[in-house]
Amino acid sequence: MTTKLTGKGQRSELEVGVLAVQGDFAEHISVLRKLGVDVREVRLPEHLDSLNGLIIPGGESTTLSRLMTLYNLREPLQKMAADGRAVWGTCAGMIMLSQEITENDPIPLGIMDIGVQRNAFGRQVDSFEQQLSINGLDGDPFHAIFIRAPVIIRVGKDVEVLAALDDNRPVAVKQGNLMATSFHPELTNDYRFHSYFLDLAHRKSLGNGSS
């Protein structure tokens, strides 16, 4: 069963956070504001209080990992996900959400039941963009931008694959209230993923987060 990505949820009275310790958090914030929600930058655990959802942006995963440890963000983030609040990671954010990665560093949060390989396509000269069909996403294929991108190499039984490359490697997944993408919807003018994330956040705010 494929979840339908409608992006039609009510936005008013939602407040979502973007982890702002490093990376392209401003790009996510800009999209979310255009969609009409209140957005908070999250750098310390107390910034997470009463948020309806959180995005972990692209950035350098080793840097994110160290700053999350140093400022005690790991446990509150894990709790937020366990509470059924919406959490979405893009690129480095996906690495941080995963259960395990192929290297020893960074240390992921273990929130989603996926295994991830960092820098799966090589170095920066191998970064690429392409059109990608997303299961359940209405309309045209999504323009996906992959920058020193990770891929998903293991998918747990409760994880739904939303998109895969031609070689079948998954690059977008969903597990209940959680979502991860190898690519960067925040670098495009296509807000369908962000709208869908707000739907997840809205669903939890109505009290039925465990879809």
Partner: protein, 296 residues
């Protein structure tokens, strides 16, 4: 089959967007690169000598031995950058062929061409270039630069020039935002930039690519100062490995860039860092020895 595009301006500029809010550190060997990565650097700049030593040694400063760069690339999983001389497109071709993640076409090295910069659109690898003002920045972007940094005055440990360059850029953008449309053509001509790029900058209200601070940053307070002035992130050159305790200082500067508006955290991370790099006042340097004036 779906068409897969590599080396586009989107993926080049997009990489710089992932570095935002981060610190890029100069390193001269694999051991320093590991210290930088451990401290939370978002990338390292692989060099044979840090700018303070280039300044002290004099002579012609060139691209680093590719073997040194390859050793550093093998040592860390974070992106690795390296410098080429201004206009030296063959040094750039060499770095691209070894798979460098970003090229800094840098005034810190001795320029190879006094008129032309590298035509950066021809490369799949992205470039960062220095600027002292908005005109220089937009000229570099029109040549294909996917990221800009202030020039500052490298190898001094004196932040005054980086502050000057960042304020000059921000002033020009504020002026642009208030400028009526019919004055833009003359402004574009005076800046020697295209009307299209100038209009885009006006609309965005910021530089159209990521803009880091560089040149003279030596302390967590310096880094936070540049962030509060509007930098998207910070390069630290000689400031880390020319200081008494590089690992602690690197770690502190990383935190100061994340928490640049939180003075309590800035105070905490500024404690017990040992000796900063000795530094030389940028004002004491004779004009002919200034690095920032090496290109327009």
């Amino acid at each position: 089959m779906v068409e897969v595009l590599t080396g586009t301006f989107t993926v080049k500029a997009g990489h710089a967007q992932m570095l935002k809010g981060g610190v890029i550190m100069d390193v001269v060997n694999a051991e320093q690169a590991k210290i930088a990565a451990e401290a939370g650097a978002v990338a390292v700049m692989a060099l044979e000598r840090v700018p303070a030593d280039i300044r002290a040694d004099g002579g012609v400063a060139r691209m680093t031995d590719p073997q040194i760069i390859c050793d550093i690339m093998d040592a860390v999983s974070i992106p690795v950058m390296a410098k080429v001389r201004i206009g030296h497109f063959v040094e750039a071709q060499i770095l691209e062929s070894i798979g460098i993640d970003y090229i800094d076409e840098s005034e810190v090295l001795t320029p190879a061409d006094e008129t032309h910069h590298v035509w950066k659109h021809d490369f799949k690898v992205p470039f960062v270039c220095g600027c002292r003002n908005l005109g220089e920045a937009l000229r570099r972007i029109s040549e294909g630069a996917a990221m800009i940094r202030t020039k500052g005055e490298a190898g001094t440990g004196d932040v005054v020039e980086a502050v000057r360059h960042m304020r000059t850029v921000q002033d020009a953008i504020r002026k642009l935002q208030n400028m009526p449309e019919d004055e833009l053509v003359v402004e574009a001509r005076d800046m020697q930039v295209s009307l299209e790029l100038l209009t885009k900058t006006k609309e965005l209200g910021r530089m159209p690519v990521v803009n880091f601070a560089a040149g003279g940053v030596a302390t967590p307070a310096d880094a936070a100062l540049m962030m509060q002035l509007g930098a998207d992130g910070v390069f630290v050159g000689s400031g880390i490995f020319k200081s008494g305790d590089p690992a602690s200082r690197a770690h502190a500067i990383v935190q100061s860039v994340t928490h640049y508006q939180d003075s309590a955290i800035l105070a905490e991370v500024s404690k017990n860092l040992g000796e900063p790099m000795v530094g030389i006042s940028a004002k004491s340097i004779p004009d002919e020895d200034l690095l920032a004036t090496r290109s327009q």
